[in-house]
Structure formats: C-alpha cells, structure tokens
C-alpha cells in the first residue's frame, strides 16, 4: 500500500534531529564537498528581461549567461548579491512552466488549472510581467534554435529592465 517512502520519511525523521539537514532552505548554496556527477540537464540561474510574445509564450531576453545553481530556494543574501552585480547579457531563453509565476488570470488560463482552481484559490506570484527584470532558476534545455528554461523559481528584481 505504501512502498517507496522510506528515504522520504527518513528525511522527515531527520528534521527532528538536533542539527539535522532540514527541508528546502538548506539545499541551495551548500559547499560542494563531493565529486559532482554531471546530470543530463543542468539546473541554472540567470537574470534577464521578461517578454511576452503573442502566441509564442514567455521569454527571458537580454539574459545573462546561465550559471549552474543547486536546487533550493535562494536566500536573501544571494538575491541581494545578484542585484548588486546585476549585468544583463545577450542570451535568450523561452520560459516554460510559467503558470505559477504569472498573474491569477494567466494561471487560470494555463492547461486545465481552471478545472480544479477557483479564483480565490490561485497561488500565482505575478513576478513574470513584461518589462521586468527577474532572476530565474530552472532546468536548462538547450536547443539548436531555442533554449528553454523549465522554471522552478522566479524572483522579481525590478519593474523595469535595462
């Protein structure tokens, strides 16, 4: 009835241990002490400008070169550091998995979200708005013509870009 949950529940048990690894907060920014096996798809972060293209989705334009980034939420020091050294670039990425980072209307118009989400139940950040500067994290899917980022995080940095 409930196979495969041992590793997960160990993580749950560990949160009760004094000074044990906890939740998503500590996942990012940890020192790299073990030899890293390169995954098929890298988790990256990049900054850039948000652009919506009619009929062609959401894009990060004037984007910085993507940097490999560990999974896990940013902490405020990391965000502040990105903001302090903000430098746009020339890359361009199509953004996918955007629904949760649009406004409520955009989320409800995505896939079949409206089938199980009422207007008062929407959890949409609204950080993806045209013309904004954002810091994104996600899976980088390189392509010959278009490279995509499947989003896991969008942090709004400024309401304008450049």
């Amino acid at each position: 009835m409930n196979r495969n949950r041992v590793a997960f529940w160990m993580a749950v048990a560990l949160v009760s241990l004094p000074a044990a690894p906890v939740s998503w907060v500590e996942a990012a920014g940890q020192p790299q002490t073990a030899e890293r096996r390169k995954p098929q798809v890298e988790m990256v972060q990049a900054v850039g400008c948000v652009e919506e293209r009619t009929g062609n989705g959401w894009w990060l334009t004037r984007a910085s070169e993507p940097e490999v980034s560990p999974a896990g939420v940013f902490n405020q020091d990391q965000v502040d550091a990105v903001l302090a050294a903000l430098e746009l670039g020339t890359r361009e990425f199509q953004l996918i998995g955007v629904a949760d980072f649009l406004d409520a209307e955009g989320l409800l118009a995505t896939g079949n979200r409206a089938d199980f989400t009422s207007a008062d139940q929407v959890n949409a950040t609204g950080d993806l708005r045209p013309g904004r500067t954002v810091l994104v994290k996600g899976l980088l899917i390189e392509g010959d013509e278009v490279s995509r980022v499947n989003l896991t995080t969008v942090v709004g940095l400024a309401d304008s870009c450049g």
Binding site: R3, V15, P21, A27, G72, Q121, N150
Partner: protein, 488 residues
C-alpha cells in the same frame, strides 16, 4: 404408476431446486458475491488487532455490520480512497467500482444472505498482525525495549529515542513495516539510522526538554576522551554535514531506516526487482521519532519494526525527489540570510513551530484558502513510481502536476479531499517515464476556517512543525533513474 408419479415428483423437485427463489435470484449473497469484495478491499484493515474497529473476515463477522457497511459503502467513505478518478490510475486503489457498490447495497437490502456454496477463502494474513500482502511474518523483528506510557490527557511533544541497531552488515530487504503497538494513541512514528554524535553516549536523560527521564537518550559522556570522540573512519556522522545536494540525497538514502508508521500505512513493499539496503555497516543506532496523542485514558505503546529479507538481487534503487523550491500565497519563497555562528548561538537550538518549513508564513486565523506550491526538478531521465503528501488537519486538497521539457502540463494526481487519517502513497499503476528537464509541482491548499470540521482552532495562527497543533507541507516523489531500469 407409482414409478411414474415418483419420477414426476423427482423431476419437479430437481426443477424446483434448480430454480432459485425470486429473492435469491435477484439478490447477491455473501458466498457468491460480497465476501470476495470485502476480503479483497476491506480485510487488510478489518481483521483482528488492526486499526479498524471490527473484523470482516467471514460472513459471521460481516453480517452484524451489514447496515453500517451499506452506509459507509454507499457514501464511498469506505474503503477509503481520495484520488480524483479523473486523473491517473493507481495500483493501490482500493475504492469499489459502481458495480461492486451496487452489489453490496443489494446484498444488504435483501437481508444480507449468506448464500449457498463455499465461503470465499480469506487471504493469508500474518498471525502476529503484520501487513505484508503475502501474509508472511517478517524475517527480522526489532522491538522497542520499553512500553511508552501515554498520559490520558494533554499534548505530548514529538521526541526521539535511540536503540542500538542489532546488526552491523547490510540488510537487503524487500519490505519493512513499523507497527505502533497502540493504534489509538500513536500519531506517527518515523525511524532512521544514525550514529551517536561525538561526545555522546546512550544513557538516561529527558525524552524532550523538560520531559520525563527515560533510557535510550543521547547524553554527554563524562568520560569521553576528546581523541576518541571521532566517529570511526567510513561511518557518517549523525548530525549535519556540509554536502552538495546529490551527496545529501545519498546520505539521506543511506540513513533511510525502516520507514514510518502513519495512519493508514501498512507494510512498505518494494516493487518486483527492487530492493532496499539497511546500512548496518554504516550506522549503529535506530532513531525512533515518536509522537503520541492522548485518548482520554492512560495508554501504553511499544512499537516494533519488521523486515522481510530480499530474495533477489537488484540494482534498482528507489530515490526520493524533494520539492525544494516553492511559492506560497502569491509569493516566491526566499529564505532569510543564513545566521552567523553568533546569531545561531543566540537563537538556540529550536525554531519553535517553524522548524520544518521556515520560509513559509504561518496560516492566518480563519483562512480557508491558504496555498503553497512546491517545485521539484528531474535533471536525469526518471521513472516516477509514486506520489505522497503529508499534512495535518488543515490540509484540504493537493494536486500534482508534471511540466514536460516541451512545456506541456499534465495532472498526475489530484486529492480533492485530503484526510489525515488515511495517508496513502499513490502508486502509479504504470510507472511514468519522464524525460530529463521535467519539473513536478505539488499544489496544496489548507483550510484553517471553521468550515473545516477537523479544525480544532480556526481562531489561531498555524505554524509549521510535526506537532499536531501545527501543520506540515511534506511531499515526495518516489522514482528510479531511467538508466537503472532493465530497458536500458
């Protein structure tokens, strides 16, 4: 003539015997129809010494409960199952089909007849009360050394006790189970493998800060030789280590113990061809994370662990994908800056109420639509096996979504009415192969309003911890790497 009459009577008798009465023809019977439904879908819990209040192993057991069975089955309250049938199919779905429900209702309405023929054979169950579907007893049992006394009233905090792991090699298992020893008084138990922190020994100390003095607690070793405090080479420390995420996942897997007891959970059985390793070569202790609840009378609980030794070799390792990034209430979660050593010392060891999800805000009083969405990422081709979510009594509904690398979004699972009493791991009937570059999201909604009939205190803010008065957002995707499968 007498012969002819006798023959006619015999023929009529045979015809009559072969023609069921009107009611028998129209109504199902226990032996022919209903018994197998109850045994297949209900008896794993409805048998002696299990969580259910009555046994349904036989006609004699079931008959007195016929009206209650009808009521629970008609409302789909039993057997419990919470996945929306619109999305996905699951191998552990114990809900009844419309036809099965109709059969049970018709049987009760007809007076619950036993019927002719032999009774359906009950599945084999463990004599000792274990829940492996084969009915076998575990090959290995670890019993907690003492019975814990649960007070009749009041809250008992979540606490940890340690017992020595009674083997020092690798135990390859196909199934494990943690039994609470007392279903009513047990909120949950999780187990894991650890080593004693440097300078500590197993001794007598408070079960929790200010709690009763008990054995099986790590205490300062007054005779500790600083030079001897290091954990032997090759054995991981029990506490925090600086690890990159992959190494952290590996360490978590190595520490994986025998699993949990949570309501609705039985034996944790690996799929065919998969095994798990209990690393006695790396760890010396079992840590028992215990959480009890008052029942109104003094209770005793003595948990135990069972393990079924694997009989086949396999390289497939079940992995656990954490959802490490999240948004909540329209806000991208960003952690506070890490504390300095000085700040950590000032803050003390605990973050009361926020220890589990410190980036989440508390749920405000009377908020009926509080949301959080966790996001996880597959960096390699994977095969999803199951989905799991854990919350407490404010948990209301959960939806799992997959976003493919081409941008398509698919609902994997929707649980529209989460129920703390039945925390299923939803096992995909067909494990789902997902390409590298996919993300998975778990959207949760909590109801802290008075509309939530389970809510004990809608007027209070709800924090995040394992205590039952707080809530939790814990999700998990169990998967194997695609290159672990025999297809590759």
């Amino acid at each position: 003539m007498r012969v002819r009459i006798a023959a006619s009577v015999t023929v009529l008798g045979l015809l009559w015997a072969g023609m069921p009465t009107a009611s028998a023809a129209e109504s199902p019977t226990y032996n022919q129809d209903v018994g197998s439904i109850l045994l297949e879908n209900c008896a794993s819990c409805h048998r002696p010494n299990q969580v259910a209040p009555m046994s349904l192993l036989s006609y004699k057991d079931a008959r007195p409960w016929a009206r209650a069975i009808k009521s629970k089955v008609a409302s789909r309250e039993m057997p419990p199952w919470f996945a929306d049938p619109s999305y996905g199919t699951f191998s552990n779905d114990i809900s009844l089909t419309d036809d099965e429900i109709a059969t049970v209702l018709a049987w009760v309405d007809a007076g619950s007849p036993e019927g002719d023929g032999p009774a359906p054979e009950a599945p084999r169950f463990s004599d000792a009360g274990w829940s492996h579907p084969s009915g076998t007893e575990p090959d290995y049992v670890i019993e907690f050394p003492i019975a814990w006394e649960v007070p009749a009233e009041g809250e008992t905090p979540n606490f940890n006790l340690y017992t020595p792991l009674p083997f020092n090699d690798v135990l390859r298992v196909s199934a494990t189970q943690v039994r609470p020893g007392n279903y009513a008084a047990t909120h949950h138990i999780t187990t894991g493998l650890v080593n004693m922190p440097p300078g500590k020994v197993l001794g007598t100390g408070p079960a929790w800060s200010g709690g009763p003095m008990v054995d099986y607690v790590p205490v300062d070793d007054p005779d500790a030789d600083p030079a001897a405090q290091a954990i032997p080479a090759g054995r991981p420390q029990g506490g925090r280590r600086a690890l990159d995420p992959e190494a952290r996942e590996e360490a978590a897997a190595q520490r994986a113990g025998f699993g949990p007891y949570i309501p609705g959970v039985g034996a944790d059985v690996a799929r065919a061809g998969q095994v798990r390793e209990i690393r006695g070569d790396l760890f010396d202790y079992v840590i028992w994370n215990l959480h009890y609840q008052a029942t109104g009378k003094l209770e005793q609980a003595r948990p135990s662990i069972g393990a079924w030794i694997a009989t086949e070799q396999s390289s497939q390792r079940v992995r656990s994908l954490g959802l490490r990034e999240a948004t909540s209430e329209g806000r991208q979660l960003v952690a506070a800056p890490p504390l300095t050593a000085e700040e950590r010392a000032l803050a003390g060891p605990s973050q009361v109420g926020q220890g589990l999800n410190p980036t989440l805000d508390p749920i405000p009083p009377n908020d009926g639509n509080w949301t959080v969405t966790g996001v996880g990422a597959f960096q390699n081709d994977a095969v999803i096996q199951s989905l799991f979510v854990h919350a407490h009594v404010r948990g209301n509904d959960f939806t799992w979504l997959l976003t493919y690398p081409d941008g398509r979004e698919e609902v994997l699972l929707r649980v529209p009415n989460y129920n703390f009493d039945w925390q299923f791991e939803y096992e995909l009937a067909e494990p789902l192969r997902v390409p590298a570059g996919s993300t998975v999201k778990s959207i949760a909604r909590y109801d802290n309003s008075r509309n939530n009939r389970r809510n004990p205190a809608p007027q209070k803010e709800v924090y995040w911890s394992e205590q039952s008065w707080d809530d939790m957002y814990l999700t998990n995707v169990s998967y194997i790497n695609a290159d672990d499968t025999s297809e590759n």
